[in-house]
């Protein structure tokens, strides 16, 4: 197969199935042997506003989207207006000539217009306006020179639950578009030949976290609907009967987290998920998980705040919030995966850490990460990349921590131990015991005695010391010795790694490496200090306006990072943006 690196975008009015069309396109690409990454942008409404879905597909390994589009499918005029500046040289644009006739000056000369009577083709073949997407999908794939059979398979898998007629109708629409374009195309299309050497999974961040949780033995999940974690709800709700787990939609987030704590206390691995606003409601109980030493995993999907902010856009504005949520002092883990493989393993890891230390663990992600699709080789879930190996090894073995199976009369739930961890028991399995959100003695009964308060606080604090050994990262990507060291966390990894790849491919002399943080509490202070002391010029890259990671690094290591590349317009980073910011800083 020729080297291919192609970005496709479809845009149109919200409510016209753009998301599903985009997903189909992505899956056809992965089943044809390409790697993909996607993004979808949509406003917080159901009908009207502008939706778009972007897929970058490439034969090489890719880490992020690029800014330029090679084929734009415009289901309405607005799509052209909004996205024509993103068109790459020699890009093509599929539009319905009955909707829109390009005027001179609308599009630059090197853009190839591909007029396609989408609506008419749909109607002529027994479809309606909703089917325009599928016609356009078929046409797009003809442009890529993809084997139509792959699309047939994908459509079959996608619609089979709606019945064979729906499948047949979709295939018919796609075929009409496919043939129309193939017959009218002046240029030879690209040619993607099928390659099935590896099985590629297509996962969103939500799905990668959810599958990690399921394989960690999570049995109980609560979440009050909120973008961007709704995908987790769908995953769990669709599979709860099959897998013997429970998804419960609570009346609010306060209830959701308390339910999860109750389930965890009763003995099952439990998780809840939300975004900033919902997490605010959860804070009191989050603190209770710390006080009652009840394991709990919380997925926190960030979106721009304050308050309702931008519900369907992305941000990394809640780092400090995750690190300090909940009143009082208690240990929490904060894990920040930056790709689907990390999400899968860190999700499993979160359950082990929560159980081992009997405390809450947060998986801190963002809207872009939760909802973008990313392909990965299925084998990676068994054989993770070298950098992740030791973390994944521990994550793969289920560690439920210290548990007493049938406690007797001498059992004390909060026994003071050398390491601060008191063996846990489950109600209904042996001797009764008391769990208490008030400060308590070893038996769980309340105390206001100074010495007991201090002893119990010390017991919990000991876990902080012990947990420090669990801190890992930052992971170093790129050259060991570099002129510039970028630091970042979570999903910024994608754009940064792509930027490093571009630098390498362009054989620029500048040497750049990247420190990726994926465990921010406990913080890997020593390692960070060691790496940063060696670094020549450090630049902090974050999707927020206040650079909390830089602040945290300063707090933990005393090292101040002056140079920052920050983005806070609701959109994720593109590698090109990082490169141009880097050029500016480099010249300073």
């Amino acid at each position: 197969m020729q080297d291919l690196d192609f970005t496709w975008k479809i845009g149109g009015e919200a409510g016209f199935g753009i998301m599903i069309t985009g997903t189909s396109f992505a899956k056809v690409c992965t089943r044809s042997g390409l790697n993909i990454i996607t993004n979808n942008e949509y406003p917080s409404l159901i009908r009207g506003g502008h939706n778009n879905f972007t897929v970058r597909a490439a034969s090489d390994k890719i880490y992020s989207l690029l800014t330029k589009i090679n084929l734009l499918v415009a289901l309405n005029r607005q799509t052209i207006d909004l996205h024509k500046n993103e068109l790459a040289k020699n890009a093509a644009i599929i539009f319905d000539p009955n909707d829109y006739q390009p005027q001179s000056g609308d599009l630059s000369e090197n853009i190839e217009p591909l007029p396609l009577p989408l609506l008419q083709l749909a109607r002529d073949n027994g479809g309606d306006i909703i089917m325009r997407n599928t016609v356009a999908l078929g046409a797009s794939l003809a442009y890529l020179g993809i084997d139509f059979k792959v699309l047939e398979e994908v459509l079959n898998d996608q619609f089979i639950h709606k019945g064979p007629e729906i499948v047949a109708q979709n295939i018919k629409m796609a075929k009409v578009g496919f043939d129309y374009l193939a017959n009218n195309l002046k240029k030879t299309p690209l040619k993607v030949t099928r390659d099935t050497k590896e099985t590629r999974l297509v996962l969103s961040g939500n799905e990668a976290i959810g599958l990690g949780a399921l394989s960690a033995g999570m049995k109980f999940f609560t979440a009050y609907p909120m973008t961007p974690i709704n995908g987790l709800i769908t995953l769990m709700a669709e599979n709860e009967k099959k897998l013997g787990i429970v998804y419960k939609q609570p009346e609010d987030e306060i209830s959701g987290i308390n339910m999860a704590i109750g389930a965890s206390y009763a003995g099952v691995r439990a998780m809840t998920a939300t975004s900033g606003g919902g997490f605010a409601l959860m804070n009191e109980a989050f603190s209770m998980a710390g006080m009652t030493e009840t394991p709990l995993v919380v997925v926190l999907g960030q979106r721009p705040g304050p308050a309702s902010g931008l519900p369907t856009w992305t941000s990394q504005g809640d780092l400090r919030y995750a690190l300090s949520a909940g009143h009082g002092e208690f240990l929490r883990f904060v894990l920040t995966p930056g790709d689907m493989e990390e999400a899968y393993f860190l999700s499993k890891l979160a359950f082990n850490l929560a159980d081992k230390y009997q405390t809450p663990a947060i998986i801190l992600v963002d809207k872009y990460f939760c909802e973008c699709l990313f392909s990965l080789n299925q084998k990676q879930l068994d054989n993770p990349t070298a950098l992740l190996k030791s973390v994944a090894d521990y994550a793969n073995s289920i560690d439920r921590g210290k548990i007493v199976n049938n406690p007797d009369e001498t059992y004390q739930r909060f026994k003071i131990t050398d390491d601060g961890i008191s063996p846990r028991a489950f109600p209904g399995h042996g001797m009764h015991f008391t769990v208490n959100s008030y400060e308590h003695n070893e038996a769980g009964l309340s105390t206001e005695v100074a010495s007991e308060i201090k002893a119990m606080t010390d017991k919990r604090s000991k876990k902080n010391e012990l947990a420090q050994a669990e801190a890992f990262g930052p992971m170093v990507y790129g050259e060991e010795k570099a002129d510039i060291t970028l630091v970042g966390w979570g999903s910024t990894k994608m754009a940064v790694l792509e930027a490093l790849k571009i630098i390498k491919d362009q054989k620029v002399k500048l040497k750049v490496n990247y420190l990726h943080f994926l465990c921010l509490s406990p913080f890997p202070g020593q390692n960070t200090a060691m790496l940063l002391q060696k670094a020549k010029k450090v630049i902090d890259v974050e999707t927020n306006s206040q650079a909390p990671l830089a602040g945290l690094i300063r707090e933990k290591t005393g090292i101040e990072i002056k140079n920052k590349i920050l983005k806070y317009d609701g959109r994720q980073f593109y590698p090109e943006e990082i490169l141009s910011a880097l050029n500016v800083i480099e010249k300073e």
Binding site: K27, T30, R31, T199, R200, L201, V202, E207, L211, L214, S215, K219, F220, N239, E240, K241, L243, G244, I245, V246, K248, P250, E251, D252, I254, S255, G256, N258, M259, A260, I261, G262, A263, S264, Y265, A266, G267, V268, A270, E284, A285, M288, T292, Q378, L381, F426, P427, G428, G430, M431, H432, F433, T434, V435, N436, S437, Y438, G444, L445, S446
Partner: protein, 286 residues
């Protein structure tokens, strides 16, 4: 053989002498004995308030949670292990102020949980402020000139939200309260037991004497299966000043857990991981 003393943690209660919480504690212990529910056989979840302080004196599997949140906690426990009997203890502020949302949703879901509300029409533990059930005109630290809020009626609220067992008890009549708690426990579904609990320190209106004067036991002829009649009875106090005590309404209907196919065979906590099913699910993401 169990006895009421088997539920004493050894700690002395911290309630004011004469507090209605003593009567509820005694009736609960009696009921546990008669139901043969040992301290390790069940879970009791408590809210925060004078009522909740019971956990310190009660010997059992106790979970002292947060103010207003005993029901979500209790329902999480129930869903994870529905074989465990679960009791939830609240105050009026706990149940209908801080936890009002949870209350109505627990009623409509019909978990098999016994919900005991210590209704003293006041915030006891925070030393006497107005509660959602305080009568209009009630004077507290929070409303020195008398509350201008109308009170909530826990019984009509529970009835309209779909609770399948709705009763009113009185902390001053331990034998009858014991019977009522047993009935509430034996009812399959969400049982709401609103207990008139004199707060001798902060509520000088709803005293033992007041309840003895205006309270009466629901007649034997009263049929607790008619929801409309139950509403009428539940409105009697505010309409006539007479206070009926007993079981207002009981209905047999599927519980929340009955609807959970996943736990038909085994409690969730007893089920083990199914790696094959998960691998199969993962391979569907191609």
């Amino acid at each position: 053989m169990l006895s009421a003393n088997d539920y004493n943690s050894g700690r002395k209660p911290t309630w004011c002498p004469g507090c209605g919480d003593f009567g509820i504690w005694a009736a609960l212990k009696n009921a546990f004995v008669e139901l043969s529910l040992g301290p390790s056989d069940m879970v009791i979840v408590y809210g925060i308030g004078c009522h909740g302080n019971m956990y310190d004196t009660m010997k059992a599997n106790n979970f002292e949670g947060l103010h207003g949140r005993p029901l979500p906690l209790a329902s999480g426990i129930k869903m994870a292990n529905h074989k465990l009997p679960v009791f939830a203890i609240s105050g009026d502020g706990d149940a209908m102020g801080e936890g009002g949302n949870h209350f109505i949703h627990a009623c409509r879901r019909n978990y098999d949980i016994t919900y005991i509300i210590h209704d003293n029409q006041v915030y006891g533990l925070t030393t006497g402020q107005t509660s959602p059930t305080s009568p209009k005109g009630f004077k507290t630290k929070a409303n020195p000139e008398g509350s201008i809020d109308y009170p909530l009626n826990p019984l009509t609220l529970a009835l309209s939200a779909g609770a399948s067992f709705v009763a009113r008890g009185f902390a001053g009549d331990i034998p009858s309260l014991t019977e009522l708690i047993k009935r509430a426990y034996n009812h399959k579904g969400f049982s709401v037991l609103d207990i008139l609990q004199p707060c001798v320190t902060f509520n000088h209106v709803n005293t033992y004497q007041f309840y003895r004067q205006y309270g009466y036991k629901l007649e034997d002829t009263y049929d607790p299966h008619d929801k409309v009649k139950a509403f009428e009875k539940a409105l009697e106090w505010e309409r006539t000043g007479k206070i009926p005590i007993g079981l207002f309404y009981e209905e047999e209907k599927a519980t929340y857990e009955d609807g959970m196919e996943q736990i038909k065979e085994k409690a969730l906590v007893e089920q083990s991981l199914n790696p094959d099913a998960i691998s199969k699910l993962i391979s569907e993401f191609t």
